[in-house]
């Protein structure tokens, strides 16, 4: 489901294929560029940004902003994840920076509660839970 005015180019297909191949992982723009450079098929950073922007608009890719001074992360939205029942939440450890993906039905209760009880419609793709992972939690004590 592409935009009307769009051509099929080598870069566009390469990028889409790569993102699918690392589906479930978080990659940065420089990760992406690095990958293609190593492959011997470098893609300009600008091109990557512009394609990602489109794919975000089309709902094919999610963008996660963990921090202000680290690059944004991008993740391909798998087909299964497209229906709301598989929404993925993220937990970010404030100490070690570890990022935990949560595919957990229990969290849907939260979503429902917010919608029904507080008239707030949670966007799981933009929301990040901050806290401590177990390792850092133990160390802290």
């Amino acid at each position: 489901m592409n935009n009307k005015n769009s051509y099929n180019t080598k870069q566009k297909n390469m990028l889409a294929d790569y993102l699918k191949s690392v589906s479930g992982k978080h990659v940065t723009v420089s990760d992406i560029c690095e990958h293609f450079k190593e492959q011997g098929n470098p893609i300009g950073m600008t091109t990557v940004y512009r394609h990602l922007e489109r794919m975000i608009k089309d709902g094919l890719v999610n963008k996660y902003i963990i921090d202000k001074n680290s690059p944004a992360c991008f993740e391909y939205v798998s087909e299964e994840a497209h229906d709301d029942h598989n929404a993925c939440f993220h937990c970010k450890c404030e100490k070690c920076g570890k990022l935990i993906h949560l595919h957990c039905g229990d969290l849907e209760a939260l979503q429902k509660h917010l919608a029904v009880g507080h008239k707030f419609f949670l966007n799981p793709f933009k929301t990040v839970f901050y806290g401590l992972c177990d390792e850092c939690y133990i160390k802290k004590l």
Copy 2:
């Protein structure tokens, strides 16, 4: 409850007073600098950043990153929100920017669930739920 090695300076107090006076609102660093410039008591941007960084560490201020290309927002944490039994969660509308404060026992269940089920220890002061408020949700459709 300040850090050990900290002095009381004019700028520090001015900043704290201002943040308290706009408690409940989100302000950016340039908002803050603008305010003091208009008052005839300009404060350096660097100083503001450095104080905010401390206050965040001390739990006096929350930092919200709405987007990559817009400045971070800061908000004073009210006294009542400080004790754990009144943990305050924030819902931020992505569209109109409205900030909703949640004092809700049900959300403590989420905290417990994350700790027990996923070994992740949520920091309610740093976590922001992003989504849409009811008004914007209706408009979107």
